[in-house]
């Protein structure tokens, strides 16, 4: 244990080195992506993508929430803390919310949160909101393919994550 | 420099502050227009032509100078298209294309004597800011 007075060594550098190490030592890096889907539209849209066999990368893992408005910014930051490389939030199209107004609040909250993440220098594109209806299986798949491609392009998230969670 | 249709449409929208795509073709502008008979292209046609990008024809035509700018169409259009402003925008475009108005204020008295029918809008244009 080294004396750690200046608690905060540049996290980026360390993580980047860490990541570089991981890349060469371990197998090919794959992004970790958390997708929050509302139960009524987007989760059903994802189901439809599945039953239509419209593939997208396995890096996307879906968490079911009743409504996109259930997603607390804390969850998104929690995902980054734990090493997620991208977080995507899907809900019913504005106006079609099962709970009539939930996604309108989501839209405002996420507009502000994403803008703040951008403001502190997190790469644009690590977070995204998409409206996907229950009928849009193809769109769900397309959105996920696009998002994974974008995150892969951005590379590993080294700016917002807790180093202790890196293996 | 020759602008393409999209760019021209953008300029017209910018000058007029009006979106021709909102038109639902009810014709109330033409039903309202006191200068209807003076115009080769009536207000509703004018708007449609702008929407379709047929600007060249309008630039060449006198219709642009026949609008009285009475704004009755603007007042009554249920869709907020503001045809008079669209006409004005095309007129401005025409003037820009000519490098400004053909008239200068000093010429106005002579023009009135020469042509009693000259549209008042044409005279007003002599005082516009695009005048050289």
């Amino acid at each position: 244990m080294s004396v750690n007075v200046s608690v905060n060594e540049p996290a980026v550098k360390a993580a980047a080195e860490n990541a570089a190490g991981a890349n060469t030592e371990n197998k090919e890096w794959r992004p970790r992506i958390v997708a929050f889907c509302c139960n009524w539209c987007s989760y059903a849209g994802a189901d439809l993508a599945g039953s239509s066999r419209l593939s997208y990368p396995a890096d996307v893992k879906i968490i079911r929430v009743p409504c996109s408005c259930r997603v607390n910014p804390m969850f998104i930051l929690k995902a980054f803390e734990r090493g997620a490389d991208g977080v995507i939030l899907c809900g019913c199209h504005p106006g079609d919310c099962h709970y009539s107004t939930g996604n309108y609040y989501t839209r405002r909250r996420m507009a502000l949160l994403f803008s703040m993440l951008d403001y502190i220098g997190v790469e644009r594109g690590r977070t995204r909101v998409e409206w996907v209806s229950a009928a849009e299986g193809a769109r769900f798949s397309a959105v996920m393919n696009d998002f994974v491609a974008k995150i892969t392009e951005l590379g590993e998230n080294v700016k917002v994550g807790d180093l202790r969670c890196k293996k | 420099m020759k602008l393409d249709e999209k760019e021209i449409a953008g300029i017209i929208k910018e000058i007029s502050g009006s979106d021709v795509k909102k038109c639902m073709k009810c014709g109330k502008c033409s039903a309202t227009c006191p200068a209807y008979g003076e115009m080769k292209f009536h207000p509703h046609q004018f708007v449609t032509m702008v929407a379709r990008g047929k600007i060249d024809e309008l630039l060449k035509d006198e219709t642009v100078t026949r609008c009285l700018s009475c704004f009755a169409c603007v007042e009554r259009c249920p869709r907020g298209v503001e045809p008079a402003n669209v006409v004005a925008a095309v007129r401005v475009l025409a003037e820009r294309e000519q490098g400004g108005s053909n008239f200068v204020p000093d010429e106005v008295p002579a023009l009135i004597i020469a042509d009693k029918e000259i549209p008042q809008q044409a005279l007003v244009s002599a005082f516009r800011r695009y005048r050289k």
């Binding site: 244990m1 080294s2 004396v3 007075v5 200046s6 202790r164 | -």
Partner: protein
Amino acid sequence: MAVKIIPLNELEKLFAAVALTKKLYLPVEKAGQYDYAPWEPGTGYDPEVLHTVKSAKGVFFPQSEDLVRYKRDGFSLSIAQVAPEDEDFVVFGVHACDVAGFEVLDRVFLSDPVDTYYKARREHGTVVSVMCAKPEETCFCGTFGIDAEQPGGDVQSWISGDTLYMEALTQKGEALLDQLDGIIMDGNDAENRKAVNDAAEEHKEIMRKLPLADLTTDGFGKEADLLTLFGRPEWKELSSSCLGCGTCTYVCPTCQCYDIREYDTGHGISRFRVWDSCMYSDFTMMAHGSPRPDQLQRFRQRFMHKLKYYPDNYDGAFSCVGCGRCLQKCPISMNIVKVMKKLGGADND
């Protein structure tokens, strides 16, 4: 006394020489504020700076440190103790108040049961003190009998003119100065001693003029009656504006409370300790709630600890060194001086 000297403009050389074998901590500027941090080439040293925001205590008692790490693999669990510090380091530029602060911590952490993490750092750390340059109106170390002109530590030093004068006080200090032979010069002559003495005298003069020079500890300490002090009605007004933040605690060189927490990394757990503040509403939170449910009690606890409980436990020694950081940093300008003046002897009023 064996005085060694080095011109101030050669300090970089000195630092580099120390850093060759040991980690070196000194006040470093970051985004406009000074705190103790590892030295790197070009870091520099500003002798005019009186206070770092946080005191120097962090080098021995960091704000956060891991104690134990658990690792889970299937159903098996392995536990790894985090080894205490085993590398030597030097902390440079500590003023008398902060050095005295180390002593306050020593009494707590080095008495039975000994805190092995703290002890290891104390053993491996060499303190190089410097007499402070320009005391501020908020300084009152004299109140606690601290001699600002003899800052203490393993090596104490003075600045006069363009020269740093150093003197080893302990074996560790001597070893350090020996190691620096060739970079620092022998300056053990009358002229240099006079320079040191003059600087000290000049400093003493300022100390006498400080607005808080007359502040005394009357009414506190071992002799004071605990229950009377505890029951004084003035606590209510004194605490009425306390926000319950931890600023005073975290900038304080003597506050020593910590919390032990765990962080689940997903792969395992690290158990670590972090500074805690008795001003916080969740301090020593228990299943039944907080033992001090309102801010008055928490506020009183902090000052009673500094001025009464600690002296009772440690033979009259106070747990305040008069550095004045809390006077400068408290968001609402409440501080120990105001408490002492309100509750202490008549002289203070």
